[in-house]
Every structure is written in C-alpha cells, then in structure tokens.
C-alpha cells in the first residue's frame, strides 16, 4: 500500500479557450480526511473528474492508489465516488439502482443491503428513487460510492442542497465513514462544514492550488486574535494602550478588548505579565481561532496581492 492515496503533478484541463485547472500539484496521504476547498468554479469538480477517469487531462501525470491516472479501470474498483449531484434512474427503486451498480462493478449483491443500512435507507430502499427527498438522494449516492468497500472515497459537494438538519446528518455520516478507514476526499465550498471533519486541506482558486497540507497547520498560521477582559472595565483604555505599545491592533468589544495580529502564545504571556505589572488584573484571556473560511480568504488575498 502506498503512503499517498492521490498524487498528481502538473495536472491541467482546458475546455476550449478556458483553462479550468492549471498545473496542479497535489498529494493526499493515505488515511486522511482531505478537504478539497475553493469557491464555485475553482476547478474542484474538474479535478475530481480527471481523478475518476471521466475526463482526460490536457496535461499532467499522477497516481491514484498507486496506479497511473491513465489506468482508471485499474484503480476505480477500489474508489467510491459521488460527483456533483447523485444521479440514478428515477423509475427504479433505490435498491434496484444499487443492484445495477453492484452488478456493473462486480460487487456481491449482499453489499446492497449493507450499504443501504449504513446510510440509513434500509427502510426506504424499495421506494422509487424519484420519491426520495434531496437528503435521501445524497445518502443513496454515498451508498453507491460505498458498494465496493473503497480504499478512497471521493465526495463532491455532499451537502449541496441539504437543509441544516440534513447537513448535520451528513456531517455525522462523514465522521462515521472517516472512522471506518478509507481515505476521504471531500470537496465543498461550505468551508465551515469541512473545517469540522477534515485533517488535510487542498485549496484551489481559479484552477490553481493555493494551499496543501494539514488542516491544523493552515488554521494555526496567519492572523489570529485574543480577547482580553480586565477585572475593572475602567482599566480598558490603559490595557488598550499597553497592548498598542506591544505592537498589536485592538478593538473594543462589549467591555472586552480584542487583540489582533500575530498573537502567538509567547506574546499573550507577555501581555498578561505586562498587565499584571501595570496593576491590571485579567479575568479572561480567550484565543479566537481563525476559521477555515478566514484562512482561505487570507490565502487568496495574499496570492492576489
């Protein structure tokens, strides 16, 4: 087994005069939950389609599960995927749709009941697909992706169109899937959702990669903030002066002081000591972690500037 589930170098795709993906280098370690992030039109789905053999790259090479991109028939039996919206035959039941796919993929028919149960559709498997709600359709799409007991699961916008409860259910499902072993590559433009489940991030913008690495590293770098609350509100202005002297920007926020900039742990300790030396007691020091959305915005802004 290779250490990387997906490895691509210089992957590009051009549709006519428009370049959808440009010289993409990407590596996804085996066993991670990888978030593939970027706004609509960033090139996420095009990249996933290339990885899944649905479209041919204009340039570039790569491997999926150790096999070359040019041999999708070799690796696809161990890859499960839901690309864009789920697509099934409306007149057939969910179960029959899965039976057709199991037959096509050479998977045992017994897997159909297993995966229906796993996504919570065991009781509705015999209903026609056209009668399914959007959430059920998404679940059936994931069930189809799980048919082959995949080593790599690729899910493209799995929360698209779902209501908040559906999104929560999907998040739980993804966590369950992640715990069961396969490498997960989940694409979404809903970054808050991905932040809660991903431990590896690949970020795209206008078809180019802007970040790749552990999610924790991305979230730990760049701008962060700390919220300070003095014991006495009257000390706020003195505290603000002290923080400004230390080179940070401040903002008053309902009896508290928000400190922004590169506020690392050592700086926080210095501020705390400085406040104590000035006779200001701090009753709250709360780090405010930047969201994935903030980080992505920062990455794109940096690149543009």
């Amino acid at each position: 087994m290779t250490n990387t589930a997906v490895e691509v170098r210089g992957l590009s795709k051009r549709f006519g005069r428009r370049e959808a993906v440009t010289a993409l280098d990407m590596s996804i370690p085996t066993g991670v939950v990888a978030g593939f992030i970027g706004p609509n039109g960033a090139g996420k789905t095009t990249t996933l389609r290339m990885l899944l053999g649905l479209i041919r790259p204009t340039a570039g090479t790569g491997t999926v599960l150790g096999l070359p991109l040019s041999d999708p028939a070799g690796y696809l039996p161990k890859v499960g995927a839901l690309i864009e919206s789920p697509a099934f035959h409306p007149a057939l039941s969910g179960r029959r749709n899965l039976e057709v796919l199991a037959c096509l993929g050479g998977h045992p028919r017994a897997r159909v009941d297993e995966v229906l149960g796993r996504v919570g559709l065991a009781d509705r498997g015999d209903d026609p697909y056209r009668a399914y709600s959007l959430g059920m359709k998404q679940r059936l799409g994931i069930a189809a992706a799980l048919l082959g007991d995949p080593a790599l699961l690729v899910l493209d916008e799995p929360t698209n169109g779902l209501d908040p409860l559906g999104i929560r259910d999907m998040r739980e499902l993804l966590r369950g899937l992640a715990a069961s072993g396969p490498t997960l590559l989940v694409s979404s433009h809903l970054l808050a959702e991905l932040e809660q489940v991903c431990d590896w991030i690949v970020a795209l913008d206008h078809g180019r990669r802007v970040y790749q690495g552990p999610a924790a590293d991305l979230l730990a770098t760049g701008r962060s903030a700390v919220m300070l609350r003095p014991e006495r509100e009257a000390d706020l202005s003195a505290l603000a002066g002290l923080v400004a002297d230390a080179g940070f920007e401040t903002r008053l926020d309902a009896g508290r002081l928000q400190v922004t900039g590169e506020v690392h742990d050592a700086a926080v300790a210095d501020l705390n000591r400085g406040a104590a030396a000035a006779g200001i007691g701090l009753v709250e020091i709360t780090p405010i972690r930047a969201s994935l959305e903030d980080r992505y915005e920062s990455l794109v802004t940096t690149k543009e500037s």
Partner: protein, 264 residues
C-alpha cells in the same frame, strides 16, 4: 461486457418495460387482423409489394401466416429508433452515465452489454409478437375461408422464421442507428428531431422522385430488410448495405463514447 449486459437486464426488469415489450405483440395482432380483413378476393389483384391489402388467396400460401406480422413489425423500426435515442440520451441528461462509468470504466464493454440487453429484449418481444400473430392468423383464417394447410409446412415455417429474423434485423439496425445518433448528439430533442426528420419524411420525399434512394438511404434500407426486400431494392443488397450502415453506426458510437469527456 457480461456484467454490463446483466446490469442492463436488471434495469429492464420492471413493469413498464414488460408492458412496452408487449406492444409489438399488440401491433402484430392488429396488423394480422387488418391483413385478413382487407384482403381482396379478386384472383387478379396485385398488391404491388408489401402492403396491408393483399390478394386473399395469397394468404393461403406458406408465408400467409405471417404476412400481417411482417408488415406490423416493419412499422416498429420508427419505434426502435425513437426508443433507443430517448433511452440513450436520458443517460446523459440524468447524469447516470457518470455513475455508470465509475462502476464500469470500460466504456466499450458497457455499450456492448447495453446493446446486447436491448437486443435480447427485442428478440423476446418479437418472438412473443410472432406467437400472437400466428394465433391471430389461425383465428382469422376460417373467418375469410383461407386454407392453412401450407402454413405449417417446411416452407411455411421457414417463411415465418424468415419474417421474424428480418423484422428483428430491421429493428436492430434502427436501434444501432438511434444509439449512434444519441451518443453523438447527447440531447434528446435535437437527436430525435434529426433522426425522425431525416429517416422518415426526407428519405421518403427523395424516394418519391428518385427510387434508387431505397438502395442508398439507411432508413429505407432498414425498412426494406424488415419486410424481406422490395421491388426497388433486392433483399440481399439491402441487407449488406444495412449491415454496413449498422457497423458504421456501432463504430461511431464506440469511438465517441470512449473518447469523449463525461461532463454531464
């Protein structure tokens, strides 16, 4: 290809398909009844080729049992063309093609299996239609006082089998043409419009002033094969030309399906 074939058969195993598969039988019964009901008693009447209005005495010939069947199934070419186009383009419009190719990346195998499954459906549906037509012919024969002794002779059975095979070939050729058009065009309405307008009105209008069109245009050739040949186009040459068109259609469908990006 075996897995694709079995998967397509699984898709076909539903009530609406069974009902649709009985349509040829219904059509065969209708056209057999019409053939017997409209037959002319005049011994000098000349129907001038495959026609619903036959000479009554000709119905007692070895091939009389399946005269109506042959005519009815020849009309089924249009249905085969429309159904294969609508069915194939729906795989693009529903997006099921991408789901399919994730499960079966070998696109040629998938297309081959799918065509075989549709062929199997045609074989069964046309056989059921043949049985229905023969039963109807036996019911109608005494009504018009038509002798049936020649029907089950060796040449009668051979004629019936020949009619069945020709009807099947005609529909299969239309089906292959429909599949190729659908794979190339991908969108249902333009594909149907293109196929129907060319294959039916245009070919027939041209045929009206240029009889050789029967030996050249695919729709006319396939229909000729379905009825076992017409005066403007001998059966064997029509069969060979049709087979050429069908092979070309299959090749185009395979090449386009294999090489084109799946973006739907």
């Amino acid at each position: 290809m075996r897995r694709a074939y079995q998967a397509e058969l699984l898709k076909l195993r539903r009530r609406s398909v069974v009902i649709a598969a009985l349509l040829p039988a219904a059509l065969a019964v209708l056209t057999t009844v019409l053939t017997f009901a409209l037959a002319k008693t005049s011994p000098t009447f000349d129907p001038g080729g495959p026609n619903f209005v036959q000479r009554l005495s000709a119905l007692a010939d070895p091939g009389g049992m399946t005269q109506g069947y042959s005519l009815g199934m020849s009309l089924f070419g249009l249905v085969a063309l429309i159904v294969t186009i609508a069915n194939t383009t729906s795989e693009f419009s529903l997006g099921t093609l991408r789901t399919t190719f994730l499960a079966q990346p070998n696109r040629k195998a998938w297309l081959g299996g799918r065509l075989l499954a549709i062929g199997t459906l045609l074989v069964v549906a046309f056989a059921v239609a043949l049985v229905a037509a023969v039963a109807t012919a036996y019911v109608m024969a005494p009504v018009r006082d038509v002798g049936t002794s020649a029907w089950l002779s060796g040449s009668g059975i051979a004629a019936a089998f020949g009619d069945y095979l020709n009807a099947l070939l005609g529909a299969a050729f239309f089906g292959l043409l429909g599949t190729a058009i659908a794979v190339v065009v991908r969108s249902t309405v333009p594909a149907l419009a293109m196929a129907i307008v060319w294959t039916f009105p245009l070919e027939h209008i041209i045929q009206g002033s240029w009889p050789t069109a029967t030996q050249v245009f695919p729709g006319l050739l396939f229909a000729t094969v379905a009825v076992g040949g017409v005066s403007d186009a001998p059966y064997v040459s029509a069969l060979l030309a049709s087979a050429g068109y069908a092979a070309a259609a299959l090749a185009v469908a395979m090449i386009v399906m294999t090489r084109r990006d799946v973006t739907a």
